[in-house]
């Protein structure tokens, strides 16, 4: 028996008793949060949880002339609702993440400072502001901390619901602030909700795949998981990050060379796809699909986190790509097809209407709902003038990504991926099945796997070959935090 079931989980139908690793993997591919009455007639529909703080998250203001406009979140939310998409998903108001939660990734002093600082007091803290990179791109504004709590809370809640199989796909358009560093703000990002969400997912999933289609490099997430310092007794818990972004011309943030592939145990687990200006739908989606398909095949993620920064759309105020909303959402559609638990977040996006359009379309994609091109009447209809349509034209841009350039990139990335398969020490065979919360059924449980309830509560399943050692470890861990 490979999988040791320790804990009862309601409604989990997976991992009954025993299963081979192979099987577990297969299952994890198909795994969907099971609905209580699976309908045989209807094709099973994903359960989608949508997180939005309808009252506050859009009502902050970064400052005059700052391109980041949280009001875009209101517009997105409103457009989603006016298309009636609320009928096909559950909607949650996330909790506001507590400082301790934020400090799961961020340094405590940084979180504490964010908590403490306000526009009126910032002049007293020049040193700290500089240290934490606050001020210019990342101004201190009214209700800053609450804003962070809300968007981070959304992503954390989304991850938790996924962990508990309460949904198959979780959406938090207000999240996706991928630049924030452990102890510093960066690029309009203060708290890295993605890292927090991934950390949450790591409690239940060994392999989390992060995909980023923001026009900017997802440096904060990459950095956070550039290598995994923990010397696991069992196996590697290496998050894989894949970022498609504009690189060069000193484009922010300046990282994300194809050569940056991770360090130490994390080597080959950071994938960067640097692109040049003007990439169009066809090139982008082809590259995206090729790479992501190979990544998923190689890495066998248990859950995917997808950052859908909308600044990769044509006409973005800060971006320089030439993607249409169709091209952008095609990537979302593709990722959804893997049928893995999926956490979708927003990210950049500085042309408000297009952000709202894009994320609405992508909400529709995730819900399998076709949206009429004509935007329905809604409070913000005026923002969608003059055409009042969902689709936007591609920009008239030259694609500076030559075929040979793209193919060189592709070759490099695929080469890296091959190294994963062959790298000693991180062989996939040693990686446990993804899913860690198997059904606990005492009656069916193999007697020699039984453990006392106390231990049961503390333990997680893992591969049998590690069982003995793990067990010792677990006992030790009982005294842990």
């Amino acid at each position: 028996m490979d999988l040791i079931s320790y804990r009862p989980v309601k409604s989990s139908t997976l991992f009954e008793g025993s299963s081979s690793r192979l099987r577990a993997r297969k299952i994890s591919f198909r795994r969907r949060a099971s609905s209580d009455e699976p309908s045989s007639e209807m094709p099973p529909k994903e359960r989608i949880a949508y997180f939005y703080d309808g009252r506050d998250v859009g009502n902050v203001y970064f400052g005059p002339n700052h391109p980041m406009k949280p009001h875009r979140l209101c517009m997105t939310h409103h457009l989603v609702l006016s298309y009636g998409l609320y009928k096909k998903m559950e909607i949650y108001r996330p909790h506001k993440a507590y400082p301790v939660e934020l400090a799961q990734f961020h340094s405590a002093d940084y979180v504490e400072f964010l908590h403490r600082i306000s526009p009126n007091t910032q002049h007293l803290f020049a040193d700290e502001l500089a240290r934490y990179n606050l001020g210019e791109d990342c101004p201190v504004f009214e209700n800053l901390f609450e804003f962070c709590q809300m968007y981070a809370g959304g992503t954390i809640d989304a991850a938790r619901r996924l962990n508990h199989q309460l949904c198959d796909i979780a959406i938090n358009w207000s999240g996706g602030l991928h630049h924030a560093k452990k102890s510093a703000a960066s690029g309009f990002c203060y708290i890295n909700d993605l890292v927090l969400g991934i950390l949450e997912l790591l409690k239940y999933h060994a392999r989390v795949l992060y995909i980023d289609i923001d026009v900017h490099h997802g440096d904060g997430v990459e950095e956070a998981f550039y290598f995994t310092d923990r010397q696991s007794t069992y196996f590697t818990f290496q998050v894989m990050t894949v970022s498609f972004h504009k690189y060069g011309d000193m484009f922010f943030p300046g990282t994300g060379d194809v050569k940056d592939i991770g360090e130490r145990e994390g080597k080959y687990y950071a994938i960067n796809v640097p692109l040049k200006d003007g990439i169009d739908d066809a090139s982008f989606t082809r590259l995206f699909k090729t790479i992501i398909a190979k990544v998923v095949e190689t890495y066998l993620p248990g859950v995917i986190v997808l950052q859908c920064g909308a600044d990769s759309l044509a006409g973005d105020r800060l971006g320089c790509f030439n993607l249409s909303i169709e091209g952008h959402s095609e990537c979302v559609k593709f990722v959804k097809k893997f049928n893995l638990p999926l956490l979708v977040t927003g990210g950049g996006g500085y042309t408000k209407e297009n952000v709202a359009r894009c994320w609405t379309v992508e909400t529709g994609v995730l819900l399998d709902a076709d949206l009429p091109n004509e935007i329905p009447e809604n409070e913000y209809i005026k923002y969608f003038a003059p055409d009042y349509t969902l689709k936007i034209p591609n920009g008239n841009m030259e694609n500076l990504n030559s075929k040979s350039y793209l193919s060189t990139i592709k070759v490099q990335v695929l080469e890296s991926l091959r190294c994963i398969q062959h790298a000693p020490g991180v062989q996939m065979q040693e990686v446990p099945p993804d899913f860690y919360i198997p059904e606990f059924d005492e009656d069916e449980q193999n007697p020699d796997e039984r453990v006392d309830q106390h231990t049961t509560d503390k333990q997680i399943q893992r591969d049998d070959e590690y069982y003995e050692g793990d067990n010792d470890n677990d006992h030790n861990m009982e005294d842990g935090p």
């Binding site: 309601k10 529909k45 703080d53 902050v60 203001y61 400052g63 005059p64 002339n65 391109p67 209101c74 409103h78 006016s82 559950e90 996330p94 507590y98 400082p99 301790v100 939660e101 990734f105 405590a108 020049a126 240290r131 990179n133 210019e136 009214e142 619901r161 630049h179 102890s183 690029g187 890292v195 991934i198 790591l202 026009v215 950095e223 998981f225 550039y226 923990r230 000193m250 922010f252 943030p253 060379d257 050569k259 200006d277 105020r317 800060l318 500085y350 209407e353 709902a369 004509e374 329905p376 809604n378 913000y380 005026k382 923002y383 003038a385 920009g395 060189t408 509560d457 861990m477 842990g480």
Partner: protein
Amino acid sequence: MVFNHSKQSSADHTSDRFAYERARHLASDDQLAQYAEDSPSLAIPAKSPASGKGKKDFLSCHKDFENETADHSYDNSHNGLSGNPSLSWVTGNTSMDIWLDNGKRSLCDGETCEHGSKRSKQADQNLQLCSSKICISAFEESPSVGSEDRKDRGTAAVAGDLVNQATSSNWFSRESALDSPIRIPSYPSYYGDTCQATESDQVEDRYSPVFDYHGRKHVPIGANHQADLPEWGSQDFKNHIRDNDVCASPMTPVTTSLSCDNVVIDGDDGDKWVGTCVIPMPDSAVLASDVLAYHKMECSCLDAGSIRCVRQHVMQARQKLKQKLGHKTFLELGFGNMGEVVTEKWTEEEEQLFYEVVLLNPASLGKNFWKKLPQVFPTRSSKELISYYFNVFMLRKRAEQNRLDPLHVDSDDDEWQESDDGESSTEEEDSVVESPPADQDVAGEEDDLEEAEIAEEDDDVEDCVYYHLSGYNEKQPSGDINRHIVGESTLHSSMTASNLHHFMEEHDIQDDSCTSYEGQHNGVVSCDAVDISDLHHGLIEDHENLHNEHRNDGLSGLADYGFFDGHSDLKSWDMRYSCGTEKDDFFSTCNVIEEVFGKEPLDK
């Protein structure tokens, strides 16, 4: 290698990284590879360059002084070229000039101090492009000789500049002077091999070899950068299972005093915080159905397309949604704070006051109405103000724009426009012809706001258009434009005197005088200084006067409007106000370029 980083973190990671890299290099004999691996980075521009479109990021390096700076890349390339593989750290070089140039421009923006750093990102693209090209081509000319000379020259030039800059700006001294020693080795043979011959507009093309970027920024490594993964077993599984249909309500917040030692959240409690259910999962039948009840409403209004008509339909849609969702859910979803309904929480007087404050504090004049608003509305929270601004103010403004200039509405023209005006007006001081349009934007915008009010009151779009057409209908020659700038400045001074007639007279007097734009601009600024203190008191009377004029006094209202809207000829207004893309003579203004590049990035 001494790094003068003022930031703990960057110092950390730089040295970490650096040590690491160095170790690596010892094992490497390939010099190029070594450099490629080693060279950490160019200065990466701040993310929000300008009100910039992506293009603007280009060389508008301002932020990342903290971590690294571009300036030294060229120096290092010299060293490399002269066969010295070691990295050298010099405090100045040619590229620094670019830098300082940007900084200077930004600092001279005429913006208030607080905007200095932000503005700094909005350096003129042309100039950047230009200087960077020069800079690079300088190196390309003779990659292997004279590098020392150039370095010296650059250093000297920069040193002077640096001092000036450092003393002239808090921002600069903080961000750059303190952090300036930077390390950017670059690839020695790079220019020679690959870039020399290219005749390209894009600097990036000079680094065309796919991967070997000129300055590569490395991922910092260390405890201060990577995440600590959650410990297995730290999670307590005991009771975290939530039933699906229990929409978990957030637990009573555990009063969490954040201690550095105890940052691991208790899995038990943490698992309960999974949000508050607003709309539960629909049943599977609904889920499986593909029908979304979505119908565009049929409009049979006589005035179809008018503001009133649209408003009516929006309200209908809203009511419909409300019925479907139920009042509680409706509010829970945030509809209570969305759209025109926000006005219900505001009195008419407050609304008018709000308009006035925004109107009289355009960012283009270095003012920030967001600072003013809380003073004027002490009882309103910032959330309320922001909500009003985006849900009511901007939407009304947008309603007008949609009708007046439907093809050229800019998605993010809210405050962006106003503030860009300021920048262009200072940047274009040398050009009398080109700057006025920028300033007219301000006037145009204000007119537009006035219009919005009028239209809201009259519920009649036609009227509003009529106002426009009744203004000066000819395209304004630059003389006229200047006149209106004078009008602008007098507007502000006379507002405090709350004497509209005086205002009008002054306008007439100055009607024919085409003083230089620069002088007038200064006038505006000085007026402001006085205004700021008085603005507050005079605000309401001014406002009333203005509106009385507009509403009650037909003739003078028109004339008045014509004055305000002197440039209001529809066409010219269009061009300047929101598009400007097709007008060659506007290209030198920074914001126009941004617009152009944002919309058609490779056209020009």
